[in-house]
Point group: C2
Chain length 501, copies 2
């Protein structure tokens, strides 16, 4: 048995290393690659993806999994080998459903679409990208078709990012959340908006950069096993537990994007840096789902990074970096500014309360597209209608409307957005549980100490990688299923105090 398990691991390591090599190519493309490198890079990346797919779907893996089934069944559910075989089997069965020729076709189309979008967006030219998006929709429907039968056509897409989730679970969850959120938003927006002008002064890049590095290091991101670079669309990417990189963008006229963006990506990276080293290059190495991943980034960005305690420690340091801009600003004004709630048009700039409404708009629209009930040509108007209804105003153009997020233009129609809201819900749930075990965490944060919280996350979440599904992990950590109550409690407490609700 051991030699078969070893062979499976060896084969998986190659798949993993090909993906990691492709990851380095992606990272380079998004950070340092000169413009002339584009065409060859597309070819190099497509080749690595194809080779990885060939190795992932090699029938030899299926035979090994068959041969190893008795061993797997002889093991306790929580045994590492059992988990490895379970996840390897799940990945294999998913991968072999999709023909290699389709993978290649979609991959090429996806790269083309991204290029077209990257030019069309600044030009506000939805017409240019529309045929590409139509083809993406058609390809996505074909992709989902390989997983038939299903309850909902989006389920196979959602399952790829959040295993165990599906439309019939998400719809009631989101409806319940929405019912709770809307009154909070209404109560807040009936008041005058908070003054956040202190965030919109001129903040030279060098200072923002140094401060972001300092915060990332202090919360526990290990720069011996990572680095921070600039990019247009920030992301976290790991090639091994020893090399997990984060990226950010800096706007000199706005303090929040780089600051909270860096903390957000650090949260993702802490997860990947915290996976047990034994899982390296196995199917267990990565974070278990999009939702759990986002719970880590949002926990650090919002629950910690936008807390009063955090800034009781950090605001004086920030003032020291930007004395002319912030020296005269009281802590309370800054705290209100970074937690200003106001309906807006851009998801990535949204506050924590309205953020989920942005996600739900996208989630609903993509379900309608996948169901064939909404044509791509009607998407811009549907977008505007939903923004008017849910957020009280429509974007003036498609650039900041239907073209604002990369997801759909990256081939992800369906499966890409639910994780954000699941992550928000889970961030509060995990934090509440951590506080039960360690009530001293808020005081520690207020004195700049994050190790108790990080250790708890490492112990309870990070180290497991993909060993447990999101649902299993939530059950193990919180003692029950996914529930929105902790998140609502968190929002009510924080914003109740801020807005005297």
């Amino acid at each position: 048995m051991n030699s078969k398990l070893q062979e499976l691991k060896d084969r998986w390591r190659e798949v993993h290393d090909l993906h990691s090599a492709g990851g380095v190519l992606f990272w380079d493309q998004a950070t340092y690659m000169p413009p002339g490198g584009g065409p060859a890079r597309g070819r190099q990346s497509a080749l690595l993806r194809r080779l990885a797919h060939e190795k992932t779907t090699d029938p030899a893996i299926g035979h090994l999994l068959d041969d190893l089934r008795p061993y797997e069944e002889s093991l306790p559910y929580d045994h590492d080998d059992a988990a490895l075989l379970r996840v390897a089997r799940r990945n294999y069965e998913r991968a072999v459903k999709v023909p290699a020729s389709f993978v290649a076709e979609f991959s090429t189309h996806r790269a083309e679409t991204f290029q077209v979008w990257a030019k069309a967006r600044p030009a506000n030219d939805f017409g240019a990208v529309r045929p590409y998006l139509e083809k993406s929709l058609e390809l996505t429907q074909r992709f989902a078709g390989y997983f038939a039968p299903f309850e909902h056509i989006a389920d196979p897409l959602i399952e790829g990012a959040d295993y165990g989730m599906k439309v019939s679970l998400l719809r009631p969850l989101f409806a319940e959340l929405r019912a709770q959120l809307v009154p909070i938003v209404q109560a807040i927006t009936s008041q005058a908006p908070a003054d956040d002008s202190c965030l919109h002064r001129h903040f030279p890049e060098a200072g923002q950069w140094a401060f972001g590095l300092d915060v990332a290091r202090q919360i526990g991101y290990d720069f011996q096993r990572g680095r921070l670079d600039k990019t247009h669309h920030p992301f976290t990417i790991g090639f091994s537990p020893g090399d997990v990189r984060i990226t950010t963008r800096v706007n000199e006229d706005s303090l929040a994007p780089a600051l909270f963006g860096t903390i957000h990506e650090s949260g993702h990276a802490l997860y990947e840096q915290g996976v047990r080293p034994q899982y390296e290059a196995t199917p267990l190495q990565r974070g278990t789902s999009s939702g759990v991943h986002e719970s880590q980034s949002r926990l650090w960005e919002n629950v910690v990074g936008r807390s009063r305690g955090f800034w009781q420690f950090y605001f004086r340091k920030l003032q020291a970096v930007f004395p002319a801009q912030l020296g005269q600003v009281p802590l309370d004004e800054f705290y209100r500014a970074i937690n200003r709630v106001a309906p807006s048009l851009i998801r990535v700039e949204a506050d924590e309360v309205t953020y989920n409404l942005h996600v739900m708009i996208r989630f609903d629209l993509e379900l309608q597209m996948l169901e064939g009930k909404l044509a791509v040509r009607d998407l811009p108007e549907a977008w505007r209608a939903r923004y008017r209804a849910d957020l009280g105003g429509a974007p003036p153009d498609d650039k900041d409307g239907v073209m604002q997020d990369v997801h759909w233009y990256n081939g992800n129609i369906g499966g890409g957005f639910q994780g954000y809201t699941l992550g928000n819900i889970l961030s509060a749930s995990f934090y509440e549980t951590a506080l039960k075990a360690h009530p001293e965490i808020p005081a520690a944060i207020a004195s700049g100490h994050f190790s108790t919280l990080l250790s708890w996350l490492r112990e309870n979440i990070h180290q497991h990688g993909s060993k447990f599904t999101a649902a299993e992990l939530v059950e193990r950590v919180t003692g029950g299923p996914l529930r929105i109550e902790p998140y609502i409690r968190y929002l009510r407490t924080k914003y109740g105090e801020l807005y005297r609700l």
Copy 2:
């Protein structure tokens, strides 16, 4: 025929793209990779190399080459397809001689040796790296053995870098060069050495960096298709004609390394950026040999970059960057400083006249090792003896002696050094030929215009990539075989004037 040629090209493109992907991994490792990324990176790189080797030696390529032989023979020698098939055949026949298992073993050993050397060198601990070097020597001898019969055991190694070259050609060439060089060195060193203290003041990195970028741009390096980054051991690397990157290191207490290093690497990169776009991802894409490559880097670094005309244009600009350090230095003093000739112990810091003596020491010692006449344990003493004899002094330790160059510790014993001297010889030869066609080049350089020279190099050398062998190229360009006379003339003229010989 066309479909077979296309299949061959498709297969070659994959090999090329795997090598390029591996190149990106190497570049990243040498520039930005955090320390923790090392172990996984070794694995990723080895996998890409193995896959490339598998694809290079796929018997299907041999069959295609057989099938295409009549087509190749029907074409004029200079036809692009003929050249492509010729070079593809040469590469294939070379690659299939070496078993895949050997490639893997050597590749792993090479990576280990490099790691050990990187630690042992600063610790001056030759004993630590000695067993690795002994194994490298043994592996290199085995490698050469796959190409038996040969005139000299180093010939297969030399041929890998400088096709058409071999020990029996290089020995008399180097002996003749040496006979010409030694009297020049003696005549110069009988005088008081030039004062180069103006190069050893404090030059802050930012200024060095900006000036290097400016010079690279001005001589024609295209930053839309490349970039400059910092590294420990500078190199040029191309992933496609659209992405050819250079690296440099900056020493704030010494102006020359970054400045001339950047020009040197720009010279390599101009070659790769200038290859005909049609050759992309074919066996013709790269520069044709180590010697011709080095001719381009040395031409720009020395023949141009250390010429009086170049500094007639640039010195005022450099003074403006470093007014406190250089503002009072006369141009003539600076020109003498950058062309100071003095026997020294470190090859990469050597002047143009003594540089080849360093190369010949290494060349001779590695031939002796490969022949089995010099044991690795006796290498440090043999090194010191040769330095005493040829350069008048021995290094005080192995760090700056036998351990100074990465080559031997990177698995390159044999084949790695001759290109430097061939490059020096060719740089003068090519430049002399360019001047016959365009006598106005020196005046253009003195007014900061490099396009006539670059266009001539593009037209006569760069565009051809590997289409012609080095010998063919030299014949086409200069009208005759490789000769040392132009190089000797160049040195005599320049240093005759400088030292009033």
